[in-house]
């Protein structure tokens, strides 16, 4: 069974789609030399017409990709830094996302925005450590946050094949994850998965936090039976899948690397509460309100959701209502 790293899975997905579909091309900063190590080897294999380095002009090349998509191509943009998504939020939301409706269905904008290394990379401080996936879920742009190498491959492939814009967050905290992968296959957008079955409480974990949730669940074995639900796609969210799980466990904790206010955890909890009567109030573990990640490693860790907080939240949730 071949061992595959998350990062290598992204590379494989790009290579496979470039080979499969001549309309696919890559656009980004320093991707020829693969500064982020995701596009390694692709220039040699596919040439400079399909692996295109851009000047530092994020707004222009993001809309350039929109135009190329309107003309029938399938661009994939790599953003080196998650915070660049703030810079191009207008281009993605106001143009790429709105064109199909505003034109009455005359066009599609199949662009993939890939962010390898989203969230904290430890030591990269305030302007390189954001995790703005909740913003894209809010505006209704398809948003995926794969947790595993197989999902990194499968969701990126599905993103590229999707006729709508899709943002793919590859959390820095998951890039080094390795797993035995038998079969690389597309993973459907909008479908979550139960990573670990349990009876007492459902923990929804986003991206790299899936691994933390699984570790916490193991630690609690014998004490609390924890089910771990990995939504994989944040928008559209697999509410049915999660409701199935929570209907059985009756308890819900969400761990999410967003800022607290209006973060995806709030939406996840509300979507469940609209359909399920819980045995205890739900809990969420998130970054604080308005978080800016401070530089010093201990401070950086202090504002990210951690295992201790998750353990405490699970205990609180179990105590309540019992």
């Amino acid at each position: 069974m071949p061992r595959l790293s998350y990062r290598k899975a992204l590379t494989r997905a790009l290579a496979d789609e470039l080979a499969r579909d001549s309309d696919v091309f890559l656009l980004g900063e320093d991707i020829r030399v693969a500064a982020s190590n995701v596009t390694a080897g692709l220039l040699k294999k596919f040439g400079p017409e399909r692996v295109i380095d851009t000047p530092l002009s994020e707004q222009a090349f993001t809309s350039f990709a929109t135009g190329a998509a309107l003309a029938g191509l399938r661009p994939v943009i790599e953003f080196q830094i998650p915070s660049l998504l703030f810079l191009v939020f207008e281009q993605i939301v106001n143009h790429a996302h709105k064109f199909p409706l505003m034109t009455g269905g005359q066009c599609a904008v199949p662009v993939t925005y890939l962010v390898p290394g989203s969230g904290s990379r430890t030591g990269w401080a305030g302007q390189h450590s954001d995790h703005p996936y909740s913003l894209f879920a809010h505006v209704g742009v398809t948003t995926v946050v794969p947790a595993t190498p197989a999902d990194a491959y499968g969701l990126l492939v599905s993103a590229i094949r999707c006729d709508d814009p899709v943002v793919v967050f590859a959390p820095a905290g998951a890039l080094e994850v390795r797993a035995d992968v038998d079969d690389l296959a597309p993973v459907p957008l909008g479908r979550g998965v139960v990573r670990r079955a349990g009876d007492d409480v459902t923990v929804v974990a986003v991206g790299h936090l899936v691994h933390d949730a699984l570790a916490v669940a193991e630690e609690l074995t014998g004490e609390v039976s924890v089910e771990v639900f990995d939504p994989r796609t944040l928008y559209p969210f697999d509410v049915d899948g999660l409701v199935d799980s929570v209907s059985r466990t009756g308890r819900l904790v969400v761990v999410d690397d967003s800022n607290r206010s209006c973060g995806i955890a709030a939406e996840i909890i509300t979507s469940v509460l609209e359909r399920v009567r819980l045995a205890a109030p739900p809990r969420r573990v998130t970054r604080p309100d308005g978080a800016v990640l401070p530089f010093a490693p201990a401070l950086d860790r202090a504002v990210q959701p951690g295992r201790d907080q998750l353990t405490a939240a699970i205990h609180l949730c179990m105590k309540d209502g019992s």
């Binding site: 809309s63 350039f64 990709a65 003309a71 034109t103 009455g104 199949p110 398809t142």
Partner: protein, 322 residues
């Protein structure tokens, strides 16, 4: 082309009367939200589009009816779009500021100032990559020349030698802000800084605009990169029809009077025998009478379909109700 003066006249006259009829429909309440009248600037859209082929691509602005009509959009479906009808070019989903017709190369009027340049650059690049011999023209106002996104687009287009004509409609005001209060340096100087040929042309004379465009397009088709044309013009009416009820004091009346003296419809009309002009005028009236009838006869869209075309992939958004 021998009939060029007649065709140019027909186009400016069509746009003129279309706008006047649209203003009537704003006043009668059939067009909600108002419009940004193109009155006075008709010579630019008419002249530029006369030098383009049907397969070439254009983008317009929030003041965009003229661009769309000059490229060949059906006045009836365009008027129906302004009236928000299902029979509109965008099925009533776009309105005045977003009229589009991809079938004739109109990739939409775009209501974010300076945003369309990069989109059109990407679209032209993509089409040429597929082997299509197309060029593009992107219209924007003097307000856009201070938008970083547009300047980034200048750079990308020039760097990658994408044949896009950047058409600046300098009507002297960005809403109420005069050019001299907003533009440091010059508009053509911006293009020249990126190595782009740039010319100033009298935007009130459709034939001069056509000739300047034809020369630029010929160079672009022969392998040249992008160029810029600054068409000096004057907006005869309000920035937006809301000014018809709220008087904004920013243009001296004598300036407006002087500006209106150089009328592109009169300038082009004077080149035709009066009998020819009368025939064209009658044809235009008949076309617009039919267009208004068509528009007002069209069904209003069914609110059940308010989010039709939100996603090209077929994704269905959750509704907002309880």
């Amino acid at each position: 082309m021998t009939d060029d003066p007649v065709r140019l006249y027909r186009t400016v006259r069509l746009i003129r009367r279309f706008e006047e009829r649209a203003i009537e429909l704003v006043r009668s309440g059939h067009i909600v939200g108002g419009i940004h009248p193109y009155l006075g600037q008709e010579g630019i859209a008419a002249g530029v589009c006369a030098a383009l082929r049907g397969t070439d691509l254009v983008t317009g602005t929030h003041r965009g009816h003229g661009h769309v009509l000059a490229k060949g959009a059906d006045p009836a479906r365009t008027m129906a779009e302004l009236c928000g009808r299902e029979t509109g070019s965008n099925r009533g989903r776009g309105g005045s500021m977003h009229a589009a017709d991809f079938s004739i190369g109109v990739l939409g009027a775009n209501a974010i100032v300076g945003a369309a340049g990069a989109i059109l650059t990407g679209a032209v690049w993509a089409r040429r990559r597929r082997g299509d011999d197309v060029v593009g023209a992107t219209f924007f106002g003097d307000g856009a020349v201070n938008e970083g996104m547009l300047l980034e687009a200048f750079n990308l287009a020039a760097l990658w030698r994408v044949p896009v004509l950047f058409v600046c409609e300098n009507n002297g005001y960005a809403t109420t802000m005069p050019v001299q209060g907003a533009v440091a340096g010059t508009i053509t100087g911006r293009a020249e800084a990126f190595g782009m040929p740039a010319a100033v042309v009298d935007g009130q004379d459709p034939e001069r605009v056509r000739d300047a465009t034809a020369a630029a397009v010929a160079r672009m088709r022969a392998g040249g990169g992008p160029e810029l044309v600054e068409a000096r013009t004057y907006r005869f009416d309000a920035h937006h029809t809301f000014e018809h009820s709220v008087r904004l004091d920013y243009r001296p009346p004598q300036e407006v009077a002087a500006g209106r003296e150089r009328d592109p419809v009169v300038i082009q009309g004077d080149r035709l025998p009066e009998a020819t002009r009368r025939i064209v005028d009658a044809e235009v009236e008949a076309t617009l009478t039919a267009a208004v009838e068509f528009a007002l006869a069209g069904p209003h869209p069914d609110p059940a379909g308010a989010l039709d075309h939100l996603y090209a992939s077929g994704l269905v958004a959750r509704t907002g109700g309880g």
